[in-house]
């Protein structure tokens, strides 16, 4: 980090006392990045952009929002009708949550496909999972704030999950609510925590990036960087590639914000919360649907809750569940098929979660839940029996095929 000199004397003076420019130069400009990253590697920085958009729009929304059971619903309508550009802030925030999850889900599946959770990136993977869990909590509490019918009943159902815990469940639920039902105390604390947690996510993202820059990026071949000829400097190559992705994401995201702002919203949430009437059909936001389907598929209260949380916790053990030494699914013909079956199963679970739990949806949900949990033991078995395709000698080797082995190293790398 130290040792970098700058032509500008002011920058040099500041950098000698606080090395922000050295760190930036080291980790965002010169930072040696595998030269073969594809567009699936865009989604980490895109998720970071969505986090910034969420915090920015959220801070300004909080200036006009009132966390009180009698005023919350009205204050959201006040934002929509009276506050200058309030509709834009709210639609950007509301849909921003969905696009944040889109980016993070693609980012997670990217890691799953290319084996980014394997040594030496276990801690990087864990930090990512903790970010994801924190996001889920933040999103859930944010959904409570407009105090519509689904806000209220979603909060009631999810907080009641904790009542499944033996002996202390009831006490924990009462503690979470700050009363004997979801009420003003609940709304107030959810607002406080919903404002706090994004900054916790920022801190976790910082650690995630520190861990990333320690182990360096994985790549589509999943093999280690052998030397300077395998890398290119982050700037300008990946800054430009990331910016291109930003352009595409913003077009789709703002397209939804401006033209389909209520696409992800259940109309029921435009009815003010009524603690005496449960809406006929309760569904969570789409990004919780697969877990909701798992919860409903287990015909036991405690078992369902354990299965639902277990469906996420199991990912922490992935570095040891996966017994294969090869990272990238490109060279793992059987695991590649298992991976895509898992992706389809997750989407199927999401669909099942969105449907009323009756008729064929019940056995289908159970089958999909079993398939979900079968993924992990199968992953272990496949790692043992699968014969991987031969790995290339280096990242540069397939590109320089036919040329002399003494490739000219990239400058600055």
């Amino acid at each position: 980090m130290s040792g970098h000199t700058f032509d500008n004397k002011v920058i040099q003076w500041l950098d000698d006392r606080l090395p922000i420019f050295s760190v930036l130069q080291h980790s965002a400009v010169e930072y040696p990045t595998p030269r073969n990253l594809n567009y699936w590697w865009n989604f980490g920085s895109l998720a970071g952009l969505m986090l910034v958009i969420m915090v920015l729009s959220g801070v300004f929304l909080a200036m006009a929002y009132t966390p009180n059971v009698n005023l919350a619903f009205g204050s959201v309508e006040h934002i929509m009708r009276d506050v200058n550009y309030g509709w834009l802030l709210r639609y950007a925030h509301m849909n921003g949550a969905s696009f944040f999850f889109v980016c993070v889900y693609i980012h997670i599946f990217r890691g799953l496909y290319y084996g980014s959770y394997k040594a030496p990136r276990e801690v990087l993977w864990w930090l990512g999972l903790i970010i994801y869990l924190t996001m889920m909590g933040t999103a859930f509490m944010g959904y409570c704030l407009p105090w519509g019918q689904l806000s209220f009943w979603g909060t009631t159902v999810i907080t009641n999950l904790f009542s499944a815990i033996p002996l202390v469940g009831g006490a924990i639920t009462t503690w979470l609510w700050g009363g004997f039902s979801v009420d003003n105390a609940t709304l107030n604390r959810f607002f406080a925590l919903h404002y706090l947690l994004p900054f916790v996510i920022f801190a976790l993202v910082f650690l995630h990036v520190v861990a990333l820059h320690t182990t360096k990026s994985n790549n589509p071949l999943g093999i280690d960087v052998k030397g300077p000829q395998d890398t290119i400097p982050f700037h300008p190559y990946y800054t430009i590639k990331d910016l291109f992705g930003v352009g595409i994401l913003l077009m789709v995201y703002l397209g939804v914000v401006f033209f389909l702002p209520n696409f992800f919203v259940e109309p029921t949430n435009y009815i003010p919360a009524n603690p005496l009437v449960t809406p006929p059909h309760i569904v969570p936001e789409w990004y919780f649907l697969p877990f909701y389907a798992i919860l409903r598929s287990v015909p036991d209260k405690l078992g369902g809750v354990i299965a639902m949380f277990g469906a996420i916790i199991v990912f922490f053990f992935l570095p040891w569940i996966d017994s294969s030494k090869v990272r990238s699914a490109r060279f793992r013909p059987i695991y590649k098929q298992l991976f895509w079956i898992f992706v389809i199963d997750c989407i199927l679970l999401g669909y099942i979660g969105s449907q009323p739990p009756e008729g064929t949806m019940v056995p289908l949900g159970r089958a999909a839940t079993v398939a979900y949990f079968l993924f992990f033991p199968l992953m272990w078995v496949i790692g043992k029996v699968e014969k991987p395709k031969p790995l290339p000698q280096s990242i540069a080797a397939p590109v320089l095929k036919g040329k002399s082995a003494a490739a000219k190293p990239m400058e600055k790398a």
Binding site: D82, V83, N84
Partner: protein, 184 residues
């Protein structure tokens, strides 16, 4: 980007100027776009439609007797309405403009001489001067006295003594009838 070391092999100086142009054009569009995107955030902190809808207040003056004063709220601020006595009007008109820190004739400050309408906020640092109630101190000039830093206003609401720089502000208002006024 004039640093050729980041260029791929075979880059020519012509390429460099083309790339410079693209870089500057892209940066300019990005900066303008980011600037425009900031505006909704900034503007959301300006008064909202419901706040602006409260920007006028109608007051019935029929119950305010001569010598009495009332305070009404307009845009969240106190507005002093004083039904001045003949003596107070006389006192306000008698002052020589040269003696005033912020010279302004009394008839420029009223539409009807008996009704003095002022924003009741001291022009020094925003306190509300005393003088509306019969028991309040009205200062040496029979108008208002600010308890915060001792500014004194006369029967036309003009600053006469103390740290305040300007006369009490006269809001925009119009008489709807002889006994009804709309402020704002």
């Amino acid at each position: 980007m004039s640093d050729l070391s980041t260029h791929p092999q075979g880059a020519t100086p012509d390429d460099a100027s083309r790339r410079d142009f693209l870089l500057y054009a892209t940066t300019a569009v990005g900066v303008v776009g980011a600037g425009l995107a900031l505006w909704p955030f900034i503007h959301s902190m300006n008064p909202s439609a419901d706040t602006l809808a409260l920007s006028s207040t109608e007051v019935d003056l029929s119950s305010v007797a001569e010598g009495q004063a009332i305070t009404v709220t307009w845009r969240g601020k106190p507005v002093f309405i004083r039904h001045r006595t003949a003596a107070e009007i006389e006192a306000a008109k008698a002052v020589k403009l040269g003696d005033l820190p912020d010279p302004q004739a009394d008839d420029q400050r009223v539409k009807k001489a008996e009704w003095l309408i002022l924003v009741g906020i001291c022009t020094h640092l925003g306190c509300i001067p005393l003088g509306q109630k019969p028991a309040d101190p009205k200062g040496e000039f029979g108008g208002w006295f600010c308890p915060c830093h001792g500014s004194q206003y006369d029967t036309s609401g003009r600053i006469r003594k103390g740290p305040a720089p300007r006369n009490l502000e006269v809001p925009a208002y119009s008489f709807l009838s002889d006994t009804s006024v709309r402020i704002g």
